[in-house]
Symmetry: D2
Subunit: 322 residues, 4 copies
Amino acid sequence: MSVPEIVRIGHVVLTVADLARARHFYVDLLGMNVLHEGSGGIYLRGVEDREWSLKLELGGSPRVRQFGFKVATDSTLDELERLAVDLGLPHRRETERDRPAMLRIQDPFGFPMTYYYQSVRHPWLLQRYDLHRGPGISRIDHVNLFCPTVADMGAWYQQRQGFRLTEYTEDKHGVTWAVWMHRKGNVHDLAITNGTGPRMHHFAYWLPDGNRIMQLCDILAGARAEAHIERGPGRHGISNAFYLYLRDPDGHRIELYTSDYLTVDPDFEPIRWDRDDIRRQQLWGGPAPKCWFTEGSMVESEDGGLVPTTESVLTGVPTYIS
Amino acid sequence: MSVPEIVRIGHVVLTVADLARARHFYVDLLGMNVLHEGSGGIYLRGVEDREWSLKLELGGSPRVRQFGFKVATDSTLDELERLAVDLGLPHRRETERDRPAMLRIQDPFGFPMTYYYQSVRHPWLLQRYDLHRGPGISRIDHVNLFCPTVADMGAWYQQRQGFRLTEYTEDKHGVTWAVWMHRKGNVHDLAITNGTGPRMHHFAYWLPDGNRIMQLCDILAGARAEAHIERGPGRHGISNAFYLYLRDPDGHRIELYTSDYLTVDPDFEPIRWDRDDIRRQQLWGGPAPKCWFTEGSMVESEDGGLVPTTESVLTGVPTYIS
Amino acid sequence: MSVPEIVRIGHVVLTVADLARARHFYVDLLGMNVLHEGSGGIYLRGVEDREWSLKLELGGSPRVRQFGFKVATDSTLDELERLAVDLGLPHRRETERDRPAMLRIQDPFGFPMTYYYQSVRHPWLLQRYDLHRGPGISRIDHVNLFCPTVADMGAWYQQRQGFRLTEYTEDKHGVTWAVWMHRKGNVHDLAITNGTGPRMHHFAYWLPDGNRIMQLCDILAGARAEAHIERGPGRHGISNAFYLYLRDPDGHRIELYTSDYLTVDPDFEPIRWDRDDIRRQQLWGGPAPKCWFTEGSMVESEDGGLVPTTESVLTGVPTYIS
Amino acid sequence: MSVPEIVRIGHVVLTVADLARARHFYVDLLGMNVLHEGSGGIYLRGVEDREWSLKLELGGSPRVRQFGFKVATDSTLDELERLAVDLGLPHRRETERDRPAMLRIQDPFGFPMTYYYQSVRHPWLLQRYDLHRGPGISRIDHVNLFCPTVADMGAWYQQRQGFRLTEYTEDKHGVTWAVWMHRKGNVHDLAITNGTGPRMHHFAYWLPDGNRIMQLCDILAGARAEAHIERGPGRHGISNAFYLYLRDPDGHRIELYTSDYLTVDPDFEPIRWDRDDIRRQQLWGGPAPKCWFTEGSMVESEDGGLVPTTESVLTGVPTYIS
């Protein structure tokens, strides 16, 4: 059976309680670029994005309305629709600004996934360095999701949508605690972490180097907004990324990420990390705050409500956390 | 007709007149890592490479013996062999250290291309930062070749081997002067530039950021080896890369390269540059030395000699060069 | 005889032909910070400066009206005044915005030097990283002046004003071609270079690291203002500084400068460079454009005109220039 | 009364329990440069140091044998000797490798301070970038000492040895908890922090930029030596420095430090920080580990033993620490 061809992570749609406050955080502090703006929400992108990659909408309790993935052609949407029909997954066609043909599927684990091929392409800002603001965030890189059944969800996305495993965390009993999977050729477009779910752990943007991440810390401090910094900067063992985690004004977690590696080789062998190896999360050895392991964003259900969550039977966090 | 699946650039094999001198340049100054070493030559790699990516051999006039490409499976070699038979291209099976099954094809433009899938995978050095030396060169990125028939050669690699065009240079008459084509998802694995060919213009390695490139300039200067610097550092308009060009002791040109962009979108539209736009080569506006446009490495023929070269009918270099 | 205590370079006052055009260059592109602005001119500073350090005035042919030095106390002005009287140098008391007590002396070599102690101190921007723009220029660092009698002028400033020699350029006959002298503890506050003078070769601002200098190149390129880049980026042998030279819209030359070294030791031995050592100007070996050796800004005379210049008897530029 | 002229911090002499282990840490991991080595100890320096700046000696419980300061002339030693005689401070003349004339004074607070002018000057490594190892540590920058009577000790060094205050920490009652004082023109040569003393909190080396500090974290992680990282990297509010704190194998604390600011202005006004302002220690807001506030190195007494310590009456650490 052929597998629908997913190209890469495409966007995240978040709801926020105060649009002006969220705009200040993402646009004024993080320096993201406004592509469209209106009563319906704000469409943002990095300097390398030719399409919008983050939408902020006013409304309700903060949650993720969509995780968007770009696919290879419009007919990929038909393939994905057949998959949804075959498996009895809730799904519907939708449209969005710049994106006339989208398919929304509630996946078997409760996540609201939308797929699109067509998107209006806008002139990028990459070489308009004079217009870059703040750290000059480049492009959307990945999403990381909390799920109580990591192994099942990881297998499903590998088998049904062609995601390729790059790294994973196991305990000494061989139980999978987390997986990192990609389509675009770096470490991940989609990661899944053990925990109460379905919830989003974080979404992430790429930057060209670690200096920009340091600069963002300084900018936040200069604006007396350092409380948004939740973890880092540091170097992940997993992915080798130089990272920083922030919480936005609504509690959504965003990672600034750079310096991972190429994963296109067909004989690439996924890298195994032990759950109790402190270096997997922080190569430099420092602990993460407990909230980093437990807090996340709820996701929107088929009817516009919140998808109820389930706790994982794998409880506890690594012993090394603070 | 199905097209053989090329994964990425894999290696370059160079001959040099003095192996110890070449080793000093690549290992002591550039900090590349020795994987194997013996009477037959030296096998080098970057800290992210799990396979060797550069081989230096003693012998004859300096030339390129092979440009190597990693393919998707062993059966891809069979597909490529059928292509060579169909088109009457000289070809043969070969082996190399770590690579038990390779196919060498002299392409229609005279270049010695070798293809392989299997390669012994070695533990990488990426997270052994304590072992990195010099600027910590990461991985092989691309090759750039001189050819008097750029448009034809570009079309051939796109049609026959699935390369995808990302950027190109045209003059005002619509004549193509250069093309950049990729398989691995960034700007290029293979670029072709107008000029006397077949010859290699340069091969390139990736680094994680521009600081490392500055550091390499300082290292060369510290060792009184600054004469190896031919051009840069600077920012290319084409590819947006931060770059540095060096000439090795045998005259082979190597580029240190970072900070290009993601090209996986199926609706990516190739970027056109005008031949007389100085910004295409140097976004900061400085000229290149004339030798950068005219000098290159000869390539090895089927019988171990040098492939005779042909001048391009497109003569002259842009008016802005020094 | 006691020597008046100079603390550091303090400011430069330039005239420009178009104030809006100059403001665009310094404020919009270079990201300098406006402290005061009015019909009389624009007062600028870096993020670390607590006082203004650059004033742009409309008027006449582009020239330097003042080179300003901060001194240890108000009484230092009296000492300097006695020096001017003793030597018959033209001098007068002046005031400027924020600076109620200044002394202007036309030095024996024709340069308009002003000295001040008092200056209104403004809250700095150093830790308001959210307000930094562009590369975040830090503070004024030095001025470099063309003079046909380098040895005499160097000796005068060392003997009469306590400047300390750090580096110098000699030819094989022992003739001095350039000197670098400091008061504040790094390589220089004041450098003197052989050439037609009195003229200003350049003035310079400090940045915290070389990344900012790269970023400024990108910003200029993004704004299609790359023609302002005259030389660099590169690494000077002299001073070890990472540098970039720009020409402003009126032709005044500004250097962006970082990464020199500490010179406070009383037994510091000045470093000698040979005039024909290409590494003294560019450790990486590249040539400078000829204009870099020959063009400079005129300086203002006692009566508001231009000080006539004299050619140096030391003619010719190093053989390695382009 | 004239005050002896101190130029800058010059060196630290530490005892260690295992010289090979300490050498591995400072030379192999941190990349410091060996100037002399023998049975008596190891003399190290940064690439900008022309003199040794750190000596490691085998012996006894880990302690600081000397804090060394370079002074303006040999006669400064006579002035300091008169001061010691006048105040009845234990003192003696000493010699060290490269330093034929030193004066050791046990200061009123129990610290073993040595002063020297003459030191053999060695060719520096600054522009021998090919010989730099690891992060390329530049030069010694400062020492930070625990003392139970911060206000008294700060006043003594300002009045008796001409140190200049740049920043200080007070509580809401106006009680001084810490002071930063300099001689060389940046934020400090000598800082004093409230706590059980006399003990050394840390000594610090300068690096040219924050990238090097990141690189050192990676090197430590690569060597599985990340446990040496005690705090950071981060940005201090006080001093604006980008920092990293390590504990060496004997527990001595070393800071890697860059990016503070110029303090030469005579009208510089010291910056006051509130003791409970989390931003003073970490502009980015993160807490420090408790050990950072409580642990330090003992100092050597006149007779080669350890100076007994006294607790401060100012107890407790800021409420924000972890």
